[in-house]
């Protein structure tokens, strides 16, 4: 396909040349890659490209339709903005990992079948894991390990679901999932894990705050939003997603209100925002799917901006706890102002991108008369304004001066933030620019008098409440328990149980095997002797077979790895059940 260049190819393959360049040339090249990828997306036509036959299976690398287009558009745009922000990162392999990750997200958006999707999802998991590893602290290395395990789990679920679909329908095509039973369940669990839907959400808030500073900016954009895309394509109109999405929106907000870490707070707020999108996927009407795409688009920009702002504070001060920060607006005025733009956008203040995107989802919920969903989403939205729009900037930049030496970060970081901030306002002022990219034709006017007055009232009064009660919202030196407890503390407790109980049982079982094995061995020796002495040359095969069986039986006992994997899995399930029933 000479007239179609895959943007993922540009970013993923192109990125491996980054370590070859130095200085200015390298910086120029780092900026050039996402620009080329973006231009390739911006100039492409709808259609199907890049269909290859691999080992008799059809892989479609370029399914370009309205839904995949809008996601690829924002992915490559954000790759550029994040690229600008990360320009002063010296480790060249960090840039490679970031672009492999971002490029694969674009590849995933254009994937027309599950095999291609799985391939890019694994690349994404690997690239983003490296962004955590490059932080090079003990804590982040452990978090990276937990992160990749969760994504291996989700990857296997997707692959398993795809295989079962193939069995049922004879096709790996990735469209609205019609396969029933376990196939759909596995695919859904895989997608929900990647979208950080509770209880599969703790990987996000565990890993993002421990990633490198630009790494967290990249990570905030691609993984959950590509999962939202897969949900929108595969499971639009699945009712349970409304329930899960609403729970997710409220859950993220509750945790964010308690959070003290300036990058974990926006991570929880991401979960809350993705909850909006998951709810809209569940609603599944044309307006709702438009809302999903619009909100993902706007969210990537303002959440990237918020992570850039928080990252800049960490970059300059080396601190990431609200309890250690305060009064930074004087020394970091640009970071402060640009962060505030992101804070206003996520709070859906009129004239920002959040206002024109979030309201589509609320309208879609209203049209379907989903009263409870509407109330809880609006509740979460007020919470978002409180924690990300007010609490975080207030206790970082205003409040009592913590006396930290600081200044604005390097220029490229400011420019990255400024680009994102510009987009937040541009979309807010010219919403039709965003609406024209949406999957379905849309006739939607966010700036009606009722809507503006409604929003202004709710924000002003909630803001007033914050002003009065803000001292109760100051950061506290605590961390909050989340479902990662099960594999962080729960697994350690399980290992104790394993050594104490299962290892003992294992020993007994091994001992039981011994006499059987010995018997088999003796029998085979006997056979061999019998064969050698009496039926030499006639029934050689019998002895050989028995020796073979004996050898295999012996391997049963030493096949410890599988044995342990199974015991660990069963044990974990067992433990989770005990805890669930006790709690």
């Amino acid at each position: 396909m000479p007239n179609w260049i895959h943007p993922a190819a540009i970013l993923v393959l192109g990125s491996f040349l980054i370590p070859l360049f130095k200085g200015r040339v390298r910086q120029a090249y780092i900026l050039l890659l996402p620009i080329l990828a973006f231009l390739s997306v911006a100039t492409m036509d709808y259609g199907t490209y890049g269909v290859y036959n691999v080992l008799g299976l059809e892989m479609t690398f370029g399914r370009v339709d309205r839904l995949s287009y809008v996601f690829a558009f924002i992915f490559t745009l954000m790759a550029f903005i994040s690229g600008v922000y990360s320009l002063n990162q010296k480790e060249s392999w960090h840039h490679v990992a970031a672009y492999v990750y971002a490029g694969s997200a674009t590849g995933l958006a254009f994937a027309g079948d599950f095999l291609t999707l799985f391939l890019f999802a694994e690349f994404m998991a690997f690239g983003s894991m490296c962004l955590v590893l490059f932080r090079k602290t003990d804590e982040s290395t452990r978090a990276a390990y937990r992160y990749i395990l969760v994504h291996v789990f989700s990857g296997i679920c997707v692959l398993g679901g795809a295989m079962l679909q193939y069995q049922q329908t004879g096709s790996f095509a990735f469209d609205a999932v019609t396969a029933g039973g376990l196939a759909a369940v596995l695919l859904l669990i895989g997608f929900l894990t990647n979208a950080a839907v509770p209880p599969f959400s703790a990987w996000l808030t565990d890993a993002y705050p421990l990633a490198t500073i630009p790494g967290a900016v990249f990570m905030s954009s691609f993984t959950t939003k590509s999962a939202v895309y897969t949900l929108a394509r595969g499971f639009a109109g699945t009712d349970i997603l409304i329930v899960l999405g609403v729970i997710m929106a409220v859950y993220g907000t509750i945790y964010a209100l308690l959070e003290n870490d300036i990058r974990r707070l926006p991570a929880y707020s991401t979960i809350s925002q993705v909850g909006y999108m998951v709810t809209a996927v569940g609603i599944g009407t044309e307006l709702a799917i438009n809302g999903v795409a619009a909100h993902a688009f706007a969210h990537i920009l303002y959440k990237g901006l918020l992570f850039m702002g928080a990252g800049s504070v960490l970059y300059v001060t080396g601190r990431s706890k609200l309890t250690d920060l305060g009064g930074l607006y004087k020394s970091m005025p640009w970071t402060f102002i640009l962060y505030i733009v992101g804070g206003l956008a996520i709070s859906a203040v009129p004239l920002t991108s959040g206002f024109v995107s979030k309201s589509i989802i609320l309208s879609a919920a209203g049209e379907e008369h989903l009263m409870i969903a509407w109330v809880l989403l609006t509740l979460a939205s007020v919470g978002t304004f409180i924690h990300t729009g007010l609490k975080l900037p207030y206790y970082t930049f205003l409040s009592k001066d913590a006396g930290l030496q600081a200044q604005d970060p390097p220029k490229n970081m400011i420019v990255g933030m400024a680009l994102a901030a510009f987009m937040c306002i541009f979309i807010g002022v010219f919403p039709q620019a965003l609406y024209s990219l949406l999957p379905y034709a849309i006739e939607y006017h966010p700036y009606t008098a009722e809507h503006v007055v409604w929003t202004a009232e709710i924000l002003l009064f909630a803001g007033f409440a914050f002003m009065v009660f803000k001292k109760y919202l100051a950061g506290e030196r605590t961390i909050s328990l989340d479902t990662d407890w099960f594999y962080r503390r729960g697994a350690a407790m399980f290992m104790k149980l394993d050594y104490g109980l299962f290892a003992a049982v294992d020993d007994i079982v091994s001992n039981l095997y011994k006499p059987i094995l010995n018997g088999v061995k003796k029998f085979s020796a006997l056979c061999w002797a019998f064969d050698f002495k009496w039926v030499d040359g006639m029934v050689n095969g019998v002895a050989a077979l028995v020796v073979y069986v004996a050898g295999d039986a012996r391997r049963l006992q030493t096949g410890r790895l599988q044995q342990y994997a199974v015991t660990i899995l069963l044990g974990l399930l067992f433990l989770v059940n005990i805890i669930l029933f006790l709690a």
Binding site: L258, P333, F461, A462, L473, S480, L481
Partner: protein, 82 residues
């Protein structure tokens, strides 16, 4: 730096507070007289409902977070390091 002069100036901050109160009042007044074109839920027609919702939502999420935090969720920072 100009930003500092604005934020550190007590007089300016007092003025800003007054602006906030006036804005709150103005929007509620507009809300009372504003004709409704789009009514999806019954509360869309109640003037000032969203103002009350803003306060109530604040109270709900903050109290919920605080209660859950104190009872179950919040632990020492070195909880996982022990």
């Amino acid at each position: 730096m100009k930003l500092e002069n604005i934020i550190e100036n007590q007089q300016t901050m007092r003025t800003l507070k007054v602006v906030l109160y006036v804005a709150m009042a103005v929007f509620v007044v507009i809300d009372i007289f504003m004709p409704r074109h789009h009514v999806e839920f019954f509360w869309d027609e109640i003037p000032g409902f969203s103002a009350a919702f803003g306060i109530a939502a604040f109270a709900a999420v903050v109290v919920a977070a605080k209660v859950l935090g104190k009872l179950f969720l919040q632990k020492d920072e070195d909880y996982y390091k022990k």
